[in-house]
C-alpha cells in the first residue's frame, strides 16, 4: 500500500471478519469493499468481479445467509455478520449438493458466474426446498450468466433441491 504514507488520506481499520466460520482480525483500508477484502486481503478468490458496481452478480456472497453483492458493500458492513463465500459452501468432506448438481448438469461452463449463482441458489434452497422454475428464475434474476442460457443452471438447482429433500447426493439420483 503505497498510499499508506500519504498522511491524512488513507485509513487502515482494524476489522474483525467472520468468513466461512473463521474469524479474522484484519487491517483493511477503510475504503475497501467486502469483495476487495475477500480477494485481496484474505485471498479468497472464489467470489468474482465482473462489473464492480452491482450490475452482474458475480461477486455475490451470503451475509448472514442473505445474498449480497460484495463489490458494492463497504467492508465495515460485514462486521459482526457471518460471511459465506463459495469456498465455505461445502462441508469439508464432500461437495455441496448444488456443486455436485452443477457438475452433473453442466451448469458451469466458463464458471465465472458460478460462484455468485451458487450463493443465490444456496439461499433459495435454504428457504425453499421445492422451488418452482419461476422461483428459481426470480432468485437468479441478479446473476448474469453469459454462457449457459441458464437452462442447465435451472436443471442443476432442481436436481440439488431434489437431492436435499431426499437427503441424498445428486450423484445417487443420476449416475455419474
Amino acid at each position: 500500500m503505497a498510499s499508506l504514507d500519504r498522511p491524512g488520506e488513507l485509513l487502515i481499520e482494524a476489522i474483525r471478519l467472520t468468513v466461512n466460520g473463521d474469524t479474522h482480525d484484519l487491517g483493511v483500508p477503510s475504503h475497501y469493499t467486502l469483495l476487495e477484502a475477500l480477494r485481496y486481503v484474505l485471498g479468497l478468490t472464489g467470489p468474482k468481479q465482473g462489473c464492480d458496481k452491482g450490475d452482474c452478480g458475480a461477486c455475490t456472497v451470503l451475509l448472514d445467509g442473505v445474498p449480497t453483492l460484495s463489490c458494492i458493500l463497504p467492508v465495515q458492513e460485514a462486521i459482526g455478520k457471518e460471511v459465506t463465500t463459495i469456498e465455505g459452501l461445502a462441508a469439508p468432506d464432500a461437495p455441496h449438493a448444488l456443486q455436485d448438481a452443477f457438475d452433473l448438469t453442466g451448469g458451469a461452463q466458463c464458471g465465472f458466474c458460478t460462484s455468485g449463482i451458487l450463493m443465490s441458489a444456496a439461499a433459495l434452497l435454504a428457504a425453499n426446498r421445492s422451488p418452482t422454475r419461476l422461483e428459481i428464475r426470480e432468485a437468479l434474476a441478479g446473476n448474469l450468466c453469459r454462457c449457459t442460457g441458464y437452462t442447465k443452471i435451472y436443471e442443476a438447482i432442481e436436481l440439488a433441491a431434489a437431492a436435499l429433500r431426499e437427503e441424498r447426493m445428486p450423484a445417487e439420483l443420476k449416475g455419474s
Binding site: 463459495i86 437468479l140 453469459r146
Partner: protein, 812 residues
C-alpha cells in the same frame, strides 16, 4: 497407500463383468454418454484459478491511459509528473514498443500503445505500473497528452464517402484509406437468373453491432525473470498466436516467451487476438523486473470490443415458382471500427458462409469493410456470418410467403444434401439439416402454429450452416493445426498435454473423454494440462469452432499409438491376437472371455516393460486443396460443416412493441455428440446469445464518439427472467472427418436465432423488422406504420378475420 491396496481399490472401482459384456455391445464406452466435465467441480466450488485470481510476490498493478477523442493526432506526451508520484515504477508509451501487431500477419496495424494517432475513444496511449491500482490511477491523471483533434466518422457509409479524411494511410496510393477490405465474388449468372425468377425478395437489412460481454474482464500478468524469460498469463483464447506476437513485437526469442492461459471466464471471440494489455504487462515487467498485472475495468472491455460488425446488407433473392433459389445478390458494408483485427476474414465470411444449407443456382456478394472511429469490430461467436444469415433467412421467409409455400417446406425444396459442393465450391460431407428441420418442426407443433396462432403470437423458422474449423491457419504453414501429447503413468493415470484453450466450451473434458474411450481408463484417471506454451504442443486456439474436430482427432491419433502398444503387450502375455484385447472400464480384457482381464494399470505396466516408457504424440492437419480454385476460395473452407434449424415462438405486445420470446427449439447437427450435456450447453448458450442480439443488445455510440453505455447495466444482456425456454434437439450425422464423427456445436447453433425471431414476429403481427435489435420502440413504430396502411386500405388486417392473410407481393 501400498501398491497392492491401490490395485485392490482400482479393481473394486472398475467395471463389473456384466458391464464389460455390455460394453462389448456398445459402439463406444465413454463417447456419447452424459458425463461430468473435468473442470466442473473446480468451478462450482470456487477453486478454479482465473487470471485475476493469481497474485505473484512483488506484483505491480498497471493501468492504461486512454484517448478521450475518437480521432486525434498525438503531438506529445509528458509523463514526468506521473513518474514522480510515489509508488509509480514505470511508464511506457507507444515509442517504447514501436512494432505493430495484429492477428493477421498481412494486416498488422495496431501498436501496444498508440504512437502518432488515436482512432477511437478508449485507444491506449500510455501505461503506468505502480504498487497498487489506486496509485496507477492517480498517475494516469498526471500524464499530459497533447492532441490535435481530427474529424471522425461513426458511420461506415460516411467514412466510405470521405477518402480525403483517412483513418488509416491508404494501402496503395489512390486507394481509399477508409476501406479495410473489399471482396466481390460471383458464382453463376446472377443477373440473368434474377431476371428469370418468378419472385424476388429485395430488402435492406441492418445489423447493429453487438459485443461479447464475457462476464470475466480481460486480465494479464507479465513476469520477466532474471534469466531473461518472459511469462505472460492471459485471458486469451489464442495462446499460440499471442506467444508469437509477444516475441515478435517485443523482439524476444520465441523460445524464451511462455504464455499460460488459466481458466477463462467466457470469451466468445472477444479474447481471440492479442490486446494492448498483454504487451503492456510484458513490457512493464521487462522494465521493472517485477510481475505486473493489468485487469480491465468493465468499461475497458467495451473499448477492447472486437465484437460483431455492424453490417448494412442489401439483398435480392430470386426463386422460381417452385420456390427453388435461383439467385442471391448480396451487397454488404461492414463497419470495422478503428482497426483491422480479423477484418479480411470477416469480410470474406460475410459472403462466403451463407451458401449452405441451401442450393442456389447463382450467388454474388460484394462486401466492403470500412474503418470508423469506434472500437474495433472483430469475431464474435459465428464470425461474420450471423449478420448475413439474418438477411438471407428473412429473405427466404418472404419468398415462401410470396409463393404461398410453408417456409419449412421451402427450405426442404432447396436442400443441399450431403457429399456435395456449395455454389462457392465448399465440399460438404455429412449434412443433417433435413433432420434438424424435421426435429424443430415436430417439437414445436409447427403445423398447428404457423399462421394459426392468434394475432400477437407467432412462430418463425430459420436454418444455418457453420464451419468446424478452417482448413487454413492464420499464418501460412504446413504444420499440424492441432497436436496432443500423452504421458502414461504406472498407476494408470494418463496426462494429456495440449495447446487447446478451454474457454468454458469443454475442450479439456473432450480430451479426457477421448483418452478414456481409447485407453479404457476411468475419467478421473485423466489429467489435462492445456494451453501452456512451454509444455503443450501447439493448437491454434479456440476460434472458428475448430477444437473438437482438430484436437479431438489429434487426441485419437496419440491415444491410438499407446493403445496399440498396450494391446500388443497384453496379447503377448495372454498369447492371443491384439485385436482380441479390449481396453474399457478400467480393464484390459479378453473380448472372447470377459472373465479374463487385468486392471488397466497392470496392462500399462506390461506395455512399459516391453516397449519402454509409454508416451505418444498425435496431431491433426486439415485436408487441403478441397476448396474452389479462386482467390478467397480457401476462406470458409472447412473439414466439416455443422447445420442448425430453429423454430422460435414469440408473443408481441401490440400496444408497446415488447417482443416476448417464449421458446426456441434448436435442432443442431453436431456430427456426433461426444457428450450430449456439453453439446446441449453450447446449443442453449448459442440460442440465448442470438436471442439477446435479436431483442436487446446494441453496441452503439453517442454522436461525440463516446460509447453509449459501457456498463453491464446499460448494455443489456438478458437475465434469467428474460431468457426464453430453450429446447435442444441433437442431430447426429456422423461426419467422416470428425473424431467419432463429431463436428461442432459452439457457434453454429447461434445463427438461426435472430431470423427465426424476426420471422416469428412477422407471423405474430405482420411486420418485418429489418433492423436489429427488435427493441420495443422499433417494433412499436413498425406496428404503427402497418396500422396506418391498414387504415388506408393498403393492407388487410393481419390474421384478424381469418386464419390466413392475403399475400402481399414479393419484395413488399
Amino acid at each position: 497407500m501400498k501398491l497392492e491396496d491401490f490395485r485392490e481399490k482400482q479393481i473394486a472401482g472398475a467395471a463389473s463383468d456384466e458391464e464389460l459384456h455390455e460394453a462389448l455391445e456398445r459402439e463406444f464406452q465413454v463417447i456419447g454418454r452424459r458425463l461430468r466435465r473435468t473442470d466442473g467441480l473446480a468451478k462450482s466450488s470456487g477453486r478454479a484459478i482465473f487470471t485475476d485470481d493469481i497474485s505473484l510476490p512483488g506484483m505491480l498493478h498497471a493501468k492504461i491511459l486512454r484517448s478521450p477523442h475518437p480521432h486525434a493526432r498525438i503531438l506529445g506526451i509528458d509523463v514526468s509528473k506521473a513518474l514522480e508520484l510515489d509508488g509509480v515504477h514505470a511508464i511506457v508509451t507507444g515509442s517504447d514498443v514501436p512494432e505493430t501487431y495484429g492477428i493477421l500477419p498481412w494486416a498488422r496495424d495496431e501498436y501496444a500503445l498508440c504512437i502518432d494517432k488515436v482512432r477511437y475513444v478508449g485507444d491506449g496511449v500510455a501505461a503506468v505500473a505502480a504498487v497498487d491500482e489506486e496509485s496507477a490511477n492517480e498517475a494516469l491523471d498526471l500524464i499530459e497528452v497533447e492532441y490535435e483533434v481530427l474529424p471522425y466518422f461513426l458511420d461506415a457509409e460516411e467514412a466510405l464517402a470521405h477518402p480525403e479524411m483517412p483513418i488509416h494511410e491508404p494501402k496503395k496510393p489512390d486507394a481509399n484509406g477508409n476501406i479495410s477490405k473489399h471482396v466481390r465474388l460471383e458464382f453463376g449468372e446472377v443477373d440473368k437468373l434474377l431476371e428469370d425468377s418468378e419472385v424476388i425478395a429485395e430488402a435492406e437489412y441492418y445489423f447493429e453491432g453487438t459485443t461479447h460481454t464475457a462476464i470475466e474482464p480481460h486480465c494479464a500478468i507479465g513476469w520477466f525473470d532474471t534469466s531473461g524469460k518472459l511469462t505472460v498469463w492471459s485471458t486469451t483464447q489464442v495462446p499460440h498466436y499471442l506467444h508469437r506476437e509477444l516475441a515478435r513485437v517485443l523482439d524476444l526469442d520465441v523460445a524464451k516467451v511462455r504464455v499460460i492461459q488459466p481458466p477463462i471466464g467466457g470469451a466468445f471471440g472477444g479474447k481471440s487476438e492479442p490486446f494492448d494489455l498483454e504487451f503492456c504487462v510484458a513490457k512493464l515487467a521487462m522494465i521493472t523486473g517485477r510481475p505486473v498485472k493489468i485487469l480491465y475495468t468493465r468499461e475497458e472491455v467495451f473499448y477492447a470490443h472486437r465484437g460483431r460488425h455492424p453490417m448494412l446488407m442489401r439483398y435480392r433473392t430470386g426463386a422460381d415458382k417452385n420456390g427453388r433459389i435461383q439467385a442471391v445478390d448480396a451487397s454488404t458494408i461492414l463497419d470495422g471500427g478503428g482497426y483491422e483485427s480479423f477484418g479480411l476474414v470477416t469480410t470474406y465470411y460475410s459472403g462466403q458462409l451463407i451458401t449452405a444449407p441451401y442450393t442456389m443456382e447463382s450467388y454474388r456478394f460484394d462486401s466492403t469493410r470500412v474503418y470508423t472511429n469506434k472500437p474495433c469490430s472483430g469475431p464474435k461467436r459465428g464470425h461474420g456470418s450471423v449478420q448475413p444469415r439474418f438477411a438471407i433467412e428473412v429473405q427466404l421467409d418472404r419468398l415462401a410467403e410470396a409463393l404461398d409455400i410453408d417456409p419449412i417446406e421451402l427450405r426442404r425444396r432447396n436442400l443441399l444434401g450431403s457429399d456435395t459442393r456449395t455454389v462457392n465450391e465448399f465440399l460438404v460431407r455429412s449434412n443433417g439439416f433435413l433432420e434438424c428441420l424435421g426435429a424443430v418442426e415436430h417439437a414445436s407443433d409447427w403445423k398447428d402454429k404457423y399462421r394459426q396462432l392468434p394475432y400477437g403470437r407467432g412462430v418463425g423458422v430459420a436454418g444455418s450452416c457453420y464451419i468446424s474449423g478452417t482448413n487454413y491457419p492464420i499464418y501460412p504453414n504446413e504444420m499440424p493445426q492441432s497436436a496432443v501429447q500423452l504421458q502414461v503413468d504406472r498407476s494408470g493415470r494418463v496426462a494429456v498435454f495440449c495447446g487447446a484453450s478451454e474457454i468454458g466450451q469443454g475442450s479439456d473434458s473432450m480430451l479426457a473423454y477421448i483418452v478414456s474411450e481409447e485407453l479404457g481408463v476411468p475419467l478421473d484417471y485423466v489429467r489435462i494440462l492445456a494451453a501452456d506454451t512451454d509444455f503443450t504442443p501447439v493448437d491454434l486456439g479456440a476460434y472458428s469452432s475448430r477444437i473438437t474436430l482438430m484436437c479431438g482427432n489429434a487426441c485419437i491419433d496419440a491415444a491410438g499409438k499407446i493403445k496399440k502398444l498396450v494391446k500388443q503387450a497384453v496379447a503377448d502375455g495372454w498369447d492371443c491376437k491384439p485385436k482380441q484385447v479390449a481396453l474399457a472400464g478400467g480393464w484390459a480384457f479378453d473380448v472372447k472371455d470377459t472373465g479374463r482381464k487385468m486392471p488397466i494399470s497392470e496392462a500399462f505396466n506390461l506395455a512399459e516393460a516391453k516397449f519402454g516408457t509409454l508416451g505418444a504424440t498425435g496431431s491433426y492437419n486439415t485436408p487441403k486443396d478441397i476448396h474452389g480454385d479462386y482467390r478467397g476460395g480457401t476462406i470458409g473452407s472447412s473439414p466439416a460443416y455443422s447445420f442448425t434449424a430453429h423454430v422460435a415462438e414469440v408473443e408481441v405486445d401490440r400496444d408497446t412493441g415488447f417482443v416476448d420470446v417464449r421458446k426456441i427449439w434448436i435442432g443442431h447437427d453436431c456430427g456426433r455428440a461426444l457428450n450430449p450435456v456439453l453439446v446441449e450447453g453450447q446449443m442453449e448458450g448459442s440460442a440465448y446469445m442470438g436471442f439477446a442480439e435479436a431483442v436487446m443488445e446494441q453496441h452503439i455510440f453517442k454522436e461525440t464518439g463516446l460509447h453509449n453505455a459501457p456498463s453491464l447495466l446499460d448494455y443489456k444482456i438478458p437475465t434469467s427472467l428474460d431468457t426464453p425456454e430453450l429446447e435442444s434437439l441433437i442431430v447426429e450425422s456422423v461426419d467422416p472427418e470428425g473424431p467419432y464423427g463429431a463436428k461442432e456445436a459452439g457457434e453454429g447453433p447461434l445463427h438461426p436465432s435472430i431470423p427465426a425471431i424476426a420471422n416469428a414476429i412477422y407471423d405474430a403481427v405482420g411486420v418485418r423488422i429489418d433492423r436489429l435489435p427488435f427493441t420495443p420502440p422499433r417494433v412499436w413504430m413498425a406496428l404503427q406504420l402497418r396500422a396506418d396502411r391498414e387504415k388506408a386500405g393498403a393492407l388487410a388486417p393481419w390474421k384478424r378475420e381469418s386464419g390466413r392473410t392475403p399475400l402481399p407481393a414479393a419484395g413488399d
